[in-house]
Symmetry: C2
Subunit: 168 residues, 2 copies
């Protein structure tokens, strides 16, 4: 398979996979495009490569910056804004984990805390309800702290786990 064909396949696949886990297809494709691009790209180049509108490119570039997956680069002598993806995959993975923790796990904990404080355990049924809320809260807090410690851990975690992978 030739390079451009492989890149296209990568971008296409990445977009399809992303939709499955609730991420916008175009956002994922722009990310993939920048990840594979040796140099930073501007909005026109992205529009052209992916055949999408300026508004769409702009909006998704902003979202990708919110996710901490791409950076704006101002090139000397250029008026246009250029964008480059973080290429260190370990950093990318940590960033994704961090954002998903913030967007998926934290809201659960908040919602459960909210219910806990607003329901008083003055009947058997309410106690049963609160038990479930409390259990979800606990398990989610554990998931949260597990993710946090993974995110905070540095390269050695990667190396340790690589060893584990090859041991198996």
């Amino acid at each position: 398979m030739e390079l451009q064909e492989a890149k296209d396949k990568f971008i296409h696949t990445w977009g399809t996979l992303a939709t499955q886990w609730g991420i916008n297809r175009t956002m994922a494709q722009i990310h993939a495009l920048l990840l594979l691009s040796p140099k930073a790209m501007n909005a026109d180049e992205i529009m052209n490569d992916l055949q999408i509108s300026r508004g769409n490119v702009n909006m998704n570039l902003r979202d990708l910056m919110d996710w901490g997956l791409i950076y704006k680069q101002l090139l000397a002598g250029e008026r246009k804004e250029y964008f480059a993806a973080e290429k260190d995959i370990w950093k990318v993975a940590r960033q994704i984990a961090k954002e998903r923790r913030r967007r998926e796990i934290e809201p659960i904990i908040e919602a459960m805390e909210d219910l806990k404080t607003s329901v008083k355990p003055d009947s058997v049924e309410k106690k049963e309800f609160l038990k479930i809320v409390e259990d979800i809260s606990k398990v989610t807090t554990i998931a949260d702290s597990t993710m946090t410690s993974i995110i905070k851990s540095e390269e050695n975690w990667l190396i340790n786990n690589l060893l584990n992978v090859f041991k198996k």
Copy 2:
């Protein structure tokens, strides 16, 4: 807050959160409803409680069974099928992690392996491309084995982590 009000809020919140991570709102709401229900429910009861169609209930019950989050219960003397949710939240969390691993992580590894075998490293550009593919493959494999070990671990993992949480 009274019990029914709290249950409704729980169901509503659970549904809203679910859409954020790419899970069907109704599926999450049915799951929440069964999680809070002291007894197994049939399709008519669910239709009535959530005000949704029979087709919708049927389809989402099937999906929830695929996810391993609810069970079918055949009640003696009853023609209708009854459904009950797994109430052990630790099991629920493990089941969700297991399914997400299968649906989100495994396909990435497959796609990367596929690209690795179909691109030959006969140019600098192709080598750079393969480096990215390889890195994603590695990091994803690590995430995979991490999730697998958490899923396989038993209650003591939960207890250990609870201790960690409280230590902090």
